[in-house]
Symmetry: C2
Subunit: 223 residues, 2 copies
């Protein structure tokens, strides 16, 4: 895998790891049993990005919308996210958890990561969305408007997720062709690649195919 060459790589990749519940049902399990199966793929993807020198990686963990699901599922994805962040915290990475931590749905163990923490050589910026909500994110713009000293300038600097940079490439597993509230400001110009396979069926080939597709897209930023 170290031999792969790309003419142009994304500076920031967003990952929507969808399809855990569908995978569980297909494999004769309960829906909530699918989330744990997403941990190994996440770690594999991190390793592949590190090897390629991708500077920033953002995982769509769970959202405030998702917390309306049955409690047994909520507990399962909370645990999987907590475990994922703990796994990544022992690597060379600068880690940030983004989400509404004033809510009981936010895992208390992850509060310490809501300001960016650097581990090892901090080689890669990794952002993990946990109890994230697009309304929660955008509402910060409104709150800052109430501050008379606030600046009208850059919207990207005014969202709650302002420490997450613009995303170049989104890879969504599980076949759905939508953003589902994933960082609306940072994904404005993102190229979106959809993998039909479910996230627990992750293969390195999915990732390389996405990068091969990405390298031949033009970048216009709307111009």
């Amino acid at each position: 895998m170290g031999n792969k060459k790309f003419s142009r790589l994304p500076g920031h990749i967003g990952v929507i790891p969808d399809g855990n519940r569908r995978w569980a049902l297909i494999n004769g399990m309960q829906k909530q049993d699918g989330y744990h199966k997403g941990l190994d793929p996440g770690l594999m993807l991190y390793e592949m990005c590190l090897e390629l020198g991708i500077p920033e990686l953002t995982f769509y963990g769970f959202t405030q919308d998702n917390t309306k699901r049955p409690p047994v599922q909520v507990k399962a994805f909370q645990n999987a996210c907590t475990e994922a962040v703990n796994m990544l915290s022992n690597r060379d990475a600068s880690l940030l958890v983004v989400g509404d931590h004033s809510s009981p749905f936010f895992p208390p163990e992850l509060v310490e990561y809501t300001t960016r923490k650097t581990f090892g050589r901090g080689l890669m910026r990794i952002n993990f969305l946990v109890n994230y909500g697009w309304k929660w994110d955008l509402r910060r713009i409104f709150d800052q408007g109430g501050n008379v000293t606030g600046k009208r300038g850059d919207v990207l600097k005014q969202v709650a997720s302002s420490d997450v940079s613009r995303i170049d490439l989104i890879i969504r597993w599980g076949g759905r062709r939508r953003l589902s509230g994933f960082l609306p400001v940072q994904t404005i110009y993102s190229d979106i690649y959809v993998v039909d396979d479910l996230w627990p069926d992750f293969r390195p080939g999915h990732f390389y195919e996405a990068l091969e597709w990405y390298q031949v897209q033009d970048v216009t930023l709307g111009g």
Copy 2:
């Protein structure tokens, strides 16, 4: 075409009519000559939506990002948008133009449409984005935050494009898999269908294929 049956239709379709300049070059014309070729497809699409009873249709006309292009191109897409709105104003439709009309890039003839105008039986809501900018749209949230009587509630009601409803299905012509700043709040949960053909090569089959795909997508709104 009146015989097409769908089990589920979108309530609001967003159209990204991309590829006019590429079409012009392929057909031996200057880039700016492509925009005029987008008028007939737009009218055809309107007729098809009317026949199916689609309640709302939004066209991505041009953006503030686009106005950085060479003046001859800017003039061409300004003219094409003005002509498109004039064509639709003689139909059964309730028409709204959304964009920054405080700018010299906004065609003066269209200012009257920045409050919704109803023609004939007003059978369909049509929105046309003209000199639209995602930052311009979101910045209104910030401005309303400065108003101490403002409500923190629904972000959708606070954007400059608040009279445009949530979009169910986006159809993008021209092969690019991105949103390019298209109504970030209304497209949060949209299903995105990409047609590889360029917009001036529009065929009714593109539209029906998008609707056939859409009817088998599940709608979760992030839940």
